[in-house]
């Protein structure tokens, strides 16, 4: 809509009419209120222009009016599917500024809740990707399992989606008795369902035909567009901050970084981006098992929480491996209890920018799949 595409009146260019379609903001598979302006030649996509801002809440400006503790609930609402992972880099940035060394037990709780949330996020990502391809049933199998993860996090933090569980220097609450068993049950169930989904969806011939060789993102393009997370790893680049810049206690765990290997299709296509997430769930399960075994029994999770957070003058940038990629927070402090400037590097936003590049020349139905394989959350894109 809006601008009209001008075409030179040459007959060679008039062989077919191009049509501009508005996909979104109300569309079943734009994963929120994203609007894509698509130009199609029959079924072939010739141009994609994403339009953002339907969910803009001016998060960064808003933070300048809030004190450091009050910002955390708003960070939850960025990528609301993996709120635990969102809070972590922010809290770590503040701890870095304040020079707080958090207790060992807190580190392990953080690792476990973040990995649980990573599993929940990937479950939604894989499930909605399958739904974009038309398979509805895996979606509900994953949601059934996700419920178990959500209830663990609910018992820990008191909320089901927007946890506000991390505190600077500790956690809002200690783990409950029986937490370990719950986690192990979840791990068991996740593995069982994943094995089932592999047969039902991932290795289904139709699904492979739909998603393999579609939306190929070469490693060079991925790096040029600063993609991260499974989008980058699906292109075969083994970049994972948990291993490359080990924060917290991640250097103590034994885990692999799954990358797209091109078993089916080519490296960097939708199928490989998707399979990376399934394999990552397994790696998260491994990390959770190790963390549960290593976690110290005693320790006060609230011991190091400062009463009032007042940052020294300066600036800090901290990034962690979010389920969707690198999530970073850049905080400029002027010495008061409110940030002077706050900048969030939203993963979904950066990853979404690659859409126009990789969806040209594919079919209209592929565009939906490519969008699904990028795994965006509009709360983070628009902030």
């Amino acid at each position: 809509m809006g601008e009209i595409k001008r075409m030179d009146l040459e007959y060679s260019q008039l062989d077919s009419d191009r049509m501009r379609i508005n996909v979104g903001p109300q569309h079943p598979s734009t994963h929120g209120v994203l609007r894509l302006e698509v130009e199609v030649d029959g079924e072939i996509v010739t141009e994609v222009v994403p339009h953002l801002g339907y969910l803009h809440r001016s998060f960064e400006k808003h933070c300048e009016k809030l004190n450091y503790q009050q910002i955390i609930p708003f960070i939850d609402r960025m990528d609301y599917i993996s709120a635990m992972n969102n809070e972590w880099p922010y809290v770590m940035a503040l701890e870095k500024m304040l020079d707080i060394k958090v207790p060992e037990k807190v580190e392990y709780i953080r690792v476990i809740v973040a990995e649980l949330n990573r599993i929940a996020n990937h479950q939604i990502a894989v499930a909605t990707f399958g739904m974009d391809a038309g398979a509805f049933t895996p979606f509900l199998y994953y949601f059934r399992d996700r419920e178990a993860i959500i209830s663990i996090l609910e018992r820990l933090s008191g909320a089901r989606l927007l946890y506000n569980y991390f505190r600077v220097g500790g956690m809002a609450a200690d783990i409950y008795p029986g937490f370990k068993d719950d986690c192990l049950n979840v791990v068991k169930q996740v593995r069982k369902t994943n094995a089932e989904i592999m047969k039902l969806l991932i290795h289904n011939s139709i699904f492979i035909k739909r998603s393999a060789n579609v939306g190929i993102l070469t490693p060079e393009v991925a790096i040029n567009y600063a993609c991260s997370g499974p989008v980058l790893r699906g292109s075969g680049v083994a970049h994972d901050l948990r291993r490359d810049e080990p924060y917290s206690v991640y250097d103590r765990f034994d885990f692999e970084i799954p990358v797209g290997k091109g078993d089916v299709g080519v490296v960097g296509d939708c199928w490989n981006r998707n399979i990376v997430r399934v394999h990552e769930m397994e790696q998260s399960c491994r990390i959770i098992e190790q963390a549960l075994a290593q976690m110290p029994e005693t320790g006060d999770v609230k011991a190091m929480i400062p009463k009032r957070i007042k940052l020294p003058k300066g600036e800090v940038y901290m990034r962690t491996e979010n389920p969707k990629g690198d999530l970073g927070f850049y905080i400029v402090s002027n010495g008061t209890d409110k940030p002077e400037r706050m900048k969030a590097r939203g993963t979904s936003f950066v990853n979404l920018s690659v859409i126009p590049e990789i969806s040209k020349g594919y079919m209209f139905a592929d565009l939906i799949l490519i969008l699904g394989s990028i795994d965006i959350v509009l709360g983070e894109v628009d902030r």
């Binding site: 910002i71 609930p73 199998y141 609910e154 008191g158 506000n164 609450a173 089932e196 039902l200």
Partner: protein, 183 residues
């Protein structure tokens, strides 16, 4: 040619595999919870509607300060020693502040739990009560103060009177002192 038949065969068999999996779920136990009839038990720390325990609140305003969305409004006035009505806190200590206004707008509340952790006396707490939807947005403005507006005015007046009396006394005493000093 071989590839062609292999593709057909894999398409056929993977579809059958999928159908076997879906059919194996038909007789599995359903996970649906029929909400109004059966309900999930929420953990005791679940963050739902806020509840204020008036016998603990001393109108210190820390919850209103901690709230990121400014949904809590607290006003208090000191208890005048002359007040005929004296109240005690839950632990038997005498009340020092009357809570003349304590309002929470649940239309604004984001259920972050920061007021709960900021409260020094554990007066404000999240409960497990979540079924309180209203058709009228204004009905979500909960007033927790136990004093009526008239009573609140009365308390304020009493305090002002007491203050004025104090000041008078102070003035007279200082005036007296000054007088003595002069002499």
């Amino acid at each position: 040619m071989f590839e062609y038949f292999k593709n057909i065969w894999s398409g056929f068999t993977t579809a059958l595999h999928g159908m076997a999996i879906t059919s194996s779920h038909i007789f599995a136990k359903s996970v649906t919870i029929q909400y109004p009839d059966e309900k999930l038990t929420l953990p005791s720390n679940a963050r739902n509607r806020l509840q204020l325990e008036m016998s603990r609140c001393n109108a210190c305003n820390s919850c209103a300060v901690a709230c990121p969305v400014n949904c809590i409004t607290v006003e208090g006035t000191r208890v005048s020693p002359d007040d005929p009505q004296q109240d005690v806190h839950w632990d038997g200590k005498p009340r020092k502040m009357w809570v003349t206004r304590y309002e929470i707008d649940f239309a604004k509340c984001c259920f972050c739990g920061l007021c709960q952790s900021a409260c020094p006396t554990d007066a404000i707490k999240h409960t497990v009560e979540y079924e309180y939807s209203e058709y009228d947005r204004n009905k979500l403005l909960y007033k927790f103060q136990t004093l009526s507006p008239a009573e609140a005015e009365e308390k304020k007046r009493l305090l002002a009177e007491f203050r004025a009396k104090e000041k008078e006394k102070e003035c007279s005493s200082t005036a007296g002192k000054a007088h003595e000093a002069k002499e």
